[in-house]
Amino acid sequence: MKLFRRLILRPLRRDLMRTLLTLIAIALGVAVVIAIDLAGDAAAGSFESSMTTLVGRVDYEITANAGVDETVLAKLSGLPVDARFAAVIEQPVVVEGPTSSHTSTVLYGIDVIATGTGLSSGQESGDLETSAVVSSELAERFHWKKGDSITLRGREQSADFQIQAIAPNQNTGWIGIDIGAAQKLLDFYGKVQRIEVFVGPGEDGAQVEKLIRATVPPSWEIETPGARSEENRRMLRAFRWNLRILSYISLLVGAFLIYNSIAVSVVRRRTEIGILRALGTSSRGVLLIFLGEATMLGVVGSLLGILLGRGLAAGIVGMISDTVNALFTTSTPGALALSPLSVAAALLTGTTVAFFSALIPAREAARIAPAEAMRRAVVEHQARLHTGRDLLIAFTLALASYGLCQVGPIEGRPIAGYAATLLAVAAAAMIAPAFVSSLIGALRGFLKRFLGPEGLVAGRSLVASLSRTSVVVTALATAVAMMVAVGVMVGSFRETVQVWLNAQLSADIYMRAQGQARAGIFAPLASPVQGLVERTPGVDSIDVLRALEIHYEGLRATLAGARTDILQRSNTFRFLKGDAREIMASLPGRDRAIVTEPFTEKHHVGVGDVLKIPLGSGVAALTVAGVYYDYSNDRGMILVDESTLLKYLPGQPVNDIAVYVKQGFDRVKVRRDIDDRLRDYPVLIAPNEFLRAEAVKVFDRTFAVTYALEGVAILVAMLGAANSLLALVLDRRREIGLIRYLGAARGQVRRMILTEAGLLGFLAGSLGLALGMALSLVLIYVINKQSFGWTIQFHPPFALLGSALLLVWIFTILAGVYPAQFAAGLEPAEVVHEE
């Protein structure tokens, strides 16, 4: 313990600034990892059905695309098992408020008698039809209390309900009413969403399931409620994996800095190592000293990181949840749960990274012979001599990285793509020494001519400390590369989406039910709306979209019907291959469909394949006529002509209307006219431009977390730059003192260190830009494509990248301010004679 205190803790205390900077770097790396994990868990962990609150624990759910035929209930009830069966409707509904404050929420229609819910207690049967239970989230949002009256709007009519109860501790918005009232309101006769099964105590669940399967059509699904949560988690898997990998970049950048920090410690304590060895310490003992130092930094840094990560998670859970809702599935963030397991995992990750990052410098320290006074010049000369070998390794790594990019996804994950990224970073690390010395060599004349002695000495000092400079440059370059790669990917994606939006949103005015738009939720428009819009003067034509969520091969997707002749006229779709006109013309009146690119990626189907989709009591066999680019969400969509959809689902309501205004008519005036006509209906009417702007806004919000992650990685790299510059100053303090002897003013010393900082930033920026461009190709064409199935056109946002790189460069120079001050403050007479 005494030795631990003297040989590990005391040196850490002596180099307080280095220790603190390293700790902050580890803490930030760990914090980001834990924050992404916690926030991801919270965003993904809240899919538990609100039905549990209403009806208690459900054992099985019976579902079918486009709803379950109600008549099956009679057959199920006759089964010789101890089980209750309750029909449920789960549909979006519009809650009417004062003018233009309508909202849409989830409506549960439940069989009050069969489920024995609180809704029925003490109620007359007449009251049942007008009673409602609301979730506490909704009640709080709209300041509702028990006994208040609310108006719900269905397709044909509105109905008033009295709030009988408020379900406490709910984080999602929903309203529960009796199933009879729900069917009447939503015009949902003869069909229900699903049937909940409650198995009696002592009854064999498997037997119940077997009998149910024998009773219902084979295309229907019988699953446990947990399966639904599992499906949601599966949908989010790629998204969460990508975030997780991004979060590991900060840790990787941190690893370079721990390596550097321990290397500095080894250099600074060279004499001490010699003395310890002379006093009888074994080389293993020396190894343990430095590994102990790294482990200490890892443990303390990770603990700080866990605390910081918990705070960060609270900040980003909203952002992640927004993305989940916009692109994947409807959810509300659950509580952030920091489990002992995740604490232990974070602690282990941080400490392990610290331990392994320190292994190389610690082994170097252990190899120092007792009487050896290692001359840095010799070490650096050797480092330079190895550049040929390093370049060969780099080339091999780059080649392997390219090879991995050709490998397909493994269990739906771009594992080879991630490995390719890692190998590319490793290749850059191997290139770094040669890159630093050759670039500084090329800049030699420039530095001396334009930056004077400060430039000359700064450049040479960086090359002289090549092994250390290379690590800092690699760390900073990795962070910059991540920024560039993600920047290029997001910029390209944004441009691609904008081009797609321009084609997609070809109509002049769009309409949907009021309320928040969420993936998989298709609120129906009231029946009269379509006719009212069509008859508005100035309306040339309208397209309507009827969409519903279906299950296809165990994954959720959207099936929609549209007027394909109108879509064809406006040239809305861009197909991966084939003539758009021919493809669209082949749809009306036939069982043919076009599907989105993510759909084909998920289900491995292509043109000519037949999709067998159970719809109601039948099965629609749809031939894929074309695959089109679509960036609206990740779940995949099957689009058929309106006539085809109505053939299978005659009552399917309209969810969206697109209006084309006649030439010569004022679009604004037509919109106002439509507004007037639909005054009594909760419809959101938006012009084309508004929708485009909104879509881009959602897009930008989606990538806010990505930018935040990049920011942290850059911050970690900055800390590393400051740490390393400080280390360079400490290591070269005699040299700095000497320069003062030779007539350098304090200002010149300060400028010299700032020039070094600037050069580090420039070197890292250049290497990072090259690496980042390569990584962006991996992100766009391998990782993104394999994760989400979207084709992104390569559009690097040069102006944005330029500004970001400039900003990073300025921050790197700022990171040199403290080391520069420190260097300028050194007393030459003291430092020159101290060794």
């Binding site: 010049a377 002289a464 005699r734 002897y741």
Partner: protein, 224 residues
């Protein structure tokens, strides 16, 4: 005696006490004229280096007066001291103290660059020629022998024609042959370039090249 206004080094009754109470100098006076060589001899810890620091405007006395090139160093701020060192003083150290990342030529050129001088490279080449190393311009320090490194250090110290050359044990880390070459150069710095040379040494042979030999003990001058 010389007039104090023109003497490169004029120290009068200087004392130096370090924090902690260590008295490094106890009333020392020294005058060095242009073209003269002064040797400070004595054991380690006798105050030689402290006295050299006063001569080189690297430190201030606790009491007494130090005039370097006619300027009272205690009245100069950091910028003034830097200016003085940059233009009037050259330093040579026992362990050469060349910047390992710069070539011999660049090491010699550095004081001129720091001073913002013109034709720096030509002057540096000329001074390297003066120490007999014109063929080592592009060599890095680790490629040179100890004697060569010290010659580069002397070239660097004299590149800006300083009025004063301060050398701390210039032959302390060299073999006899290399040491002789270095001592000859130090002598030439005074004779040919007119510098007032003051150097510390343990060696009686080295001290023999000096015009004035000052023996020091416990921070005091014992005899001339």
């Amino acid at each position: 005696m010389f007039s104090t206004s023109v003497l490169p080094i004029h120290i009068l009754d200087a004392t130096k006490t370090y924090p902690g109470g260590v008295e490094a100098l106890r009333g020392v006076s020294l005058e060095c004229a242009a073209g003269s060589v002064t040797a400070l001899v004595g054991r380690s810890g006798c105050g030689k280096t402290t006295l050299l620091n006063l001569c080189g405007a690297m430190d201030f006395p606790t009491t007494g007066e130090v005039r370097v090139s006619g300027q009272d160093t205690s009245k100069l701020d950091d910028a003034g001291l830097t200016h003085l060192r940059r233009n009037k003083i050259g330093f040579v150290f026992q362990f050469f103290q060349l910047l390992p990342s710069l070539t011999a030529l660049e090491n010699v050129e550095l004081p001129l660059l720091l001073a913002g001088a013109k034709n720096t490279e030509a002057k540096a080449r000329e001074r390297l020629g003066w120490v007999g190393l014109d063929d080592k311009c592009e060599s890095l320090p680790y490629q040179l022998s100890g004697g060569q490194m010290q010659r580069v250090a002397i070239a660097r110290a004299m590149v800006h024609d300083p009025a004063i050359l301060v050398a701390d044990e210039p032959t302390g880390n060299l073999d006899t042959a290399s040491g002789d070459v270095v001592l000859k150069l130090i002598r030439r710095a005074a004779d040919e370039l007119g510098a007032a040379v003051v150097f510390a040494t343990h060696s009686a042979e080295a001290a023999a090249i000096a015009d004035i030999r000052v023996r020091m003990r416990d921070g005091r001058m014992e005899s001339a």
